[in-house]
């Protein structure tokens, strides 16, 4: 979508909307150049600004600390507000009014982290969904997750995908429980592939826990082991026991409804013969 059509000018700010997982977040900022950068960063995920679900005003400040990981991150509830703090940004968000402020420099990484955190809070609050350290892809109308920590092979298996596979992400997957079951959504949260996923959804058919080995094979694992592995890879940052419990139950419930297996791969492209 051309930038000029989705960057909407107001009296003080311009805005654009970013739709991930069927949830649209509109962001306002005073710098059109920053908004254009976001349009390019989230290409394929920009939504209709008139129907946004949440709004944030971004206060751009002089660049200071740069933080690439989530060290030092704090996400806590203060009264009715969520407060998000890391070296490179601070944000507060009112889940009732569905609006908030972000204070950061004009870089795409801080807003990227804020969006990820906000989505984890939305998913946990609504129940049944979460973000997962996993690559994901759609094949034959079905979605598959490939979960693992850094180095497990998420980007590798994404690179090996044949042309008929639609990649949803090589780093952070998005799952929501809906009326018809569990659905995987594409995300713009990329890993080493440095490429945003496709903005599509599909029913989640299986979760594979990645392991590297001498051959390609799929093994069943006990359900409790599956739950432990899944919980290790769930992204959740908030210091909030109620939401932690919701995420815990959401992950355990998913294990009861979606097959979770171990996928050992060589790695070579033939591994995709197992993913149908």
């Amino acid at each position: 979508m051309p930038v000029t059509k989705t960057v909407i000018a107001t009296s003080e700010h311009v805005s654009t909307a970013i739709a991930i997982g069927g949830v649209t977040v509109r962001v306002h900022a005073s710098d059109p150049g920053f908004l254009r950068m976001l349009e390019q960063r989230y290409e394929g995920f920009t939504g209709d600004w008139e129907s946004s679900d949440y709004e944030f005003i971004i206060d751009l400040v002089t660049p200071g600390a740069t933080v690439s990981a989530d060290e030092g991150l704090r996400v806590r509830r203060d009264g009715g507000l969520w407060k998000l703090e890391r070296g490179d940004f601070s944000a507060e968000w009112d889940p009732v009014s569905r609006s908030g402020h972000i204070r950061q420099s004009a870089n795409p990484y801080s807003i990227d982290s804020v969006l990820r955190i906000v989505h984890t809070l939305i998913l946990a609050t609504n129940g049944g969904g979460f973000l997962l350290h996993a690559a994901s892809a759609v094949r034959n109308g079905k979605a598959f997750f490939f979960a693992g920590v850094s180095g497990a092979g998420k980007t590798t298996i994404s690179r090996l995908a044949p042309p008929d596979v639609r990649l949803l992400t090589d780093e952070i997957s998005y799952v929501r429980k809906e009326a018809g079951g569990y659905y995987a959504y594409g995300t713009p949260f990329a890993g080493e592939l440095a490429k945003v996923g496709e903005n599509v959804k599909a029913p989640l058919a299986a979760v594979y826990l990645l392991a590297q080995g001498a051959d390609n094979r799929i093994d069943d694992i006990p359900r409790a082991e599956a739950a432990r592995a899944l919980l290790r890879n769930v992204l959740f940052f908030a210091e909030d026991s109620e939401l932690v419990h919701r995420v815990f139950h959401a992950a355990c419930e998913l294990v009861e409804h979606v097959p979770v297996r171990r996928l050992t791969f060589a790695p070579d492209a033939r591994v995709w013969e197992l993913i149908q």
Binding site: L231, V244, H245, F248
Partner: protein
């Protein structure tokens, strides 16, 4: 150790039977714990008003082929560990709902 000990599940944890294990997540630091089948029976029975020795006699020894004295020792060790992680409350008196405080054990 006391023979008249009451045990109760902490209300600050999330717990769920998954497969053949009881998965427990601490609300304090999100640490995940897993209990095997025998320990899960004790966990389920820890209602705050039943003595630990009664739980062992009626629920553990009646279900599993274990020697009562050894089962009681194991149970005491387990509840001490769980209490140490803030997952369970221990008391010489029945534990009423709402008795849990920030520092309770």
């Amino acid at each position: 150790m006391s023979d008249t000990r009451y045990v109760a599940r902490s209300t600050k944890v999330a717990a769920r039977m998954v497969g053949d294990e009881m998965m427990i997540m601490s609300g304090r630091d999100s640490t995940l714990f897993a209990l095997n089948g025998t320990a899960a029976v004790l966990w389920e029975a820890a209602d705050g008003v039943t003595l630990l020795e009664d739980i062992v006699a009626r629920r553990i020894c009646a279900t599993f082929d274990v020697e009562p004295a050894a089962a009681f020792r194991d149970a005491e060790e387990l509840v001490e560990q769980l209490a140490g992680h803030g997952l369970m409350l221990l008391s010489d008196a029945p534990i009423v709902a709402g008795a849990e405080s920030e520092n309770s054990r």
